[in-house]
């Protein structure tokens, strides 16, 4: 099943339109810099990036589902695998790994060995340990999963901008959102 998702990710990635990476990276960098300037507060910037990501995520999920053809996931493991192998591949062209499952299998980490958003970025010392530069990713995951009735907390743990070897995003499952959705729950 693991390689099936990898193949699906590859296939979907090849199907979608591509955009110039430089424009994307520059745009994102400008947003972060502008936010820091406007809010003048790193924590607020982190929060705003997360909120921005949330707004992207709630819309991105349907794009993901429509293009990849993936249906409901049976369990959290399948969800995690889809995020890492299909979604990250489809949208950022990178394959992530899932590691560090908690004992109760309700928490996992998404590890990014490479992250195009961080290319060329060096944080000034004053914000190096407080800013999560691509915190938008946390919001995207949170928003996307909420639309499929999974309430999660998502937070950054490690980043190469802080000297770590890779990016680590921690996803913690909170609860299923019992919606008015008529289809039976997962």
């Amino acid at each position: 099943m693991a390689s099936k998702n990898a193949r699906l990710g590859e296939y979907t990635f090849n199907k979608v339109d591509k955009v110039n990476a430089e424009i994307f990276v520059l745009t994102y960098g400008t947003i972060v810099a502008q936010m820091l300037e406007d809010f003048d507060d790193v924590n607020e910037t982190n929060k705003q990036l997360d909120r921005m990501g949330y707004r992207i995520g709630v819309r991105l999920i349907d794009e993901f589902l429509a293009r990849s053809g993936i249906g409901r996931c049976k369990d959290l493991k399948e969800t995690a695998d889809n995020i890492a192998k299909v979604a990250f591949k489809m949208f950022l062209g990178i394959t992530a790994r899932i590691e560090n499952w908690s004992a109760d299998e309700k928490e996992f980490s998404v590890i990014l060995d490479e992250n195009p958003l961080l290319d060329y970025v060096e944080l000034p010392p004053s914000i190096r340990t407080s800013l999560w530069y691509d915190n938008v990713i946390c919001g995207v995951i949170r928003g996307a999963l909420e639309m499929v009735q999974l309430s999660v907390d998502v937070a950054y743990l490690k980043s190469p901008l802080r000297g770590d070897d890779f990016c680590e995003v921690r996803v913690t499952f909170k609860e299923y959102i019992a919606d008015e959705v008529p289809v039976g729950e997962d």
């Binding site: 709630v58 819309r59 999920i61 349907d62 794009e63 589902l65 429509a66 293009r67 053809g69 993936i70 249906g71 409901r72 639309m147 499929v148 009735q149 919606d179 008015e180 959705v181 008529p182 289809v183 039976g184 729950e185 997962d186």
Partner: protein
């Protein structure tokens, strides 16, 4: 093969409200907005009931196909809870591919419009145009 048209498309949000409705065939009966709202609400209720009365232990989708000698109705619910359903000429086969493509068009023209609010009625001209194009091509 003579064209066997799609009559109408309905899109319902998670709470059963009608988000979008369009008619594509002149020979279909013209309904008022109230009729459409009532139809959509009724279908949503049907969909909810049918997904809950499943006799098996597992989960089930709601009503997917409805056939009469006057039309065929087929529905699709996205994992995010949006229900799309099409009515068309009874002689047609399956609408699966159409529903999938309509879902993709929704993900493109509706969701990527930053000024569109989720779960609200859809007023996106590009979506309308893309739908007409899709269904015209399908008729060939």
């Amino acid at each position: 093969m003579s064209a066997q048209p799609i009559y109408a498309l309905y899109i319902i949000n998670k709470s059963g409200g009608l988000m979008y409705q369009a008619e594509f065939a002149e020979e279909a009966r013209k309904l008022t907005m109230n009729d459409h709202l009532r139809l959509a609400g009724t279908f949503y209720g049907l969909y909810a009931i049918t997904s809950n009365v499943t006799p098996t232990k597992g989960t089930s989708t709601g009503l997917q196909v409805l056939e009469t000698d006057g039309f065929r109705l087929q529905s699709y619910q996205s994992p995010t809870g949006i229900v799309f359903y099409l009515t068309g000429h009874p002689g047609r086969g399956n609408y699966d591919h159409l529903l999938k493509q309509i879902y993709q068009l929704y993900a493109d023209y509706v969701l990527k419009n930053p000024f569109y609010e989720l779960e609200q009625p859809i007023h996106c001209q590009q979506f309308d145009a893309a739908l007409v194009k899709l269904l015209k091509e399908d008729l060939k």
